[in-house]
């Protein structure tokens, strides 16, 4: 018992510095900093809102022409764009995708949005107001999670990929759906009553929205297949049967290649056409 006290004291003394761990000072820092500190993030947040508002106005004028004043419509015309809904739910729209919702009822009992194209959602958890994403053919119901709905290939099927959490995926007018959890993918062939579970074709289907490739013991072939498709350049490895674990940002392919080459001590070649 005594020994323990002495050990605790020795631990404290090792790091003790007079004036450190000042509770009051730290408290002032946090409570006082709330206006100024998270400037960077705030800026991003507000710019997101500003962009959303701008798009709302544009969308409102072009699509609804003033007749339906409460519907907010978001469109991504120039490329991937990010928006926050009133409850801080994050949407990432791929090029050409649209999302609309009724600003008056959103968040009251249910958070319903309509979408077309490929959209990634990071839904703020709220047990009292389930999130309902409806596309032309499908409907996905969630409480709070990250997932992607891909209906960009209008003629074939709707794909839903869940990055975390749990969702119910069903045909738009169907009664029953399937439950998808982390890293699961569901496919609804248009005209079918029920979607079916499938394995995601690639390890990171939502890399375009999250900006990250995450690999856990993934075979190098699979990694290169994904990178080839993502960047549109065929990539080949000098060695096979190798596995890689790591996280890469999507912004620079050269850097990813260099890192993999160094880590696995292999050579990766780009096919020159």
């Amino acid at each position: 018992m005594k020994d323990k006290e002495e050990r605790k004291l020795q631990f404290v003394l090792r790091y003790y510095t007079y004036g450190k761990l000042d509770t009051q000072k730290a408290l002032r820092k946090i409570i006082g900093e709330r206006q100024s500190h998270p400037f960077g993030r705030r800026w991003l947040y507000f710019s997101g809102i500003a962009a959303a508002i701008f798009l709302c106005i544009v969308g409102y004028h072009t699509l609804w022409n003033g007749k339906e004043p409460h519907i907010v419509c978001l469109t991504a015309e120039a490329g991937v764009s990010r928006h926050f809904l009133p409850d801080s739910t994050l949407l990432v729209l791929s090029k050409g995708a649209t999302v609309s919702y009724d600003a008056d009822t959103y968040g009251k009992e249910c958070r319903a949005v309509n979408l077309s194209g490929k959209v990634y959602f990071s839904v703020r958890r709220n047990v009292h107001a389930p999130f309902l994403a409806t596309s032309n053919y499908a409907q996905v119901k969630v409480l709070g999670t990250e997932f992607e709905v891909d209906e960009s290939r209008q003629d074939t099927a709707t794909r839903v990929y869940v990055r975390s959490g749990k969702v119910v995926f069903k045909a738009r007018y169907g009664k029953n759906g399937i439950v998808l959890t982390k890293d699961m993918c569901g496919v609804l062939t248009h005209g079918d009553e029920m979607p079916v579970v499938s394995r995601p074709a690639l390890p990171n289907p939502s890399a375009w929205a999250t900006g990250k490739f995450v690999y856990r013991n993934t075979p190098i072939e699979e990694v290169l297949k994904e990178l080839s498709l993502y960047y549109g350049t065929p990539l080949y490895s000098s060695a096979h049967y190798r596995k890689i674990t790591g996280e890469f940002k999507t912004d620079n392919l050269e850097e990813i290649i260099a890192l993999i080459e160094k880590t696995l001590d292999i050579k990766i070649t780009k096919e020159s056409r």
Binding site: K20, L21, I30, H37, P38
Partner: protein, 179 residues
């Protein structure tokens, strides 16, 4: 491993936030110190956690589970920091100067250690100096007397006073806050 609870009811207002901050700031810092072994890193980590809590306090966090929530939050961050630094050793555990501690043990120790810290902080300046020289630097009473130009008798007095205060600080029922 990761524990997140962000959806629980009951708003925590500024008052509850303040109370929790004052009560757990130091213990959490010492808790983090058992992982990170750097006082500034530990303090930064704990402040980041409180900052995050403060930012979303209006969205509601369960006040009754806040303490364990804070501890898991700090633990997760420490583990993240340590894992980022070393890709090879993925088994992160807290330890004191001698051996590895379990998470529960660490939480309990941090609590006692925070009281010791507070007690040392509260000592009069000269008394604290004597105490640190003796306990931390391992100097003999005579050496301290020479260094500080005081008599050995004074050193003895100061030491017994310091030891009493620190011991009392630890044993005392936890009534005062870590101010």
């Amino acid at each position: 491993m990761r524990i997140y609870q962000s959806h629980l009811g009951m708003d925590i207002n500024t008052k509850i936030f303040r109370e929790h901050f004052i009560q757990y700031y130091r213990p959490l810092c010492l808790f983090a110190l058992h992982y990170l072994k750097d006082i500034d890193d530990a303090e930064d980590t704990v402040q980041d956690c409180f900052m995050e809590l403060w930012r979303r306090k209006d969205r509601g966090v369960d006040a009754s589970g806040l303490k364990s929530y804070l501890y898991s939050m700090v633990r997760n961050r420490c583990i993240d920091i340590l894992k980022k630094d070393s890709l090879i050793d993925s088994n992160v555990q807290p330890s004191d100067l001698e051996e590895i501690l379990s998470d529960e043990e660490c939480e309990e120790w941090a609590y006692d250690e925070a009281r010791m810290w507070t007690a040392i902080d509260a000592l009069p300046e000269k008394c604290r100096e004597v105490f640190l020289l003796a306990k931390r630097e391992g100097l003999k009473y005579e050496e301290i007397a020479v260094r500080l130009h005081i008599s050995v008798h004074t050193v003895k007095n100061q030491m017994s006073k310091a030891i009493k205060t620190v011991k009392a600080g630890v044993q005392k029922v936890y009534l005062f806050f870590f101010g």
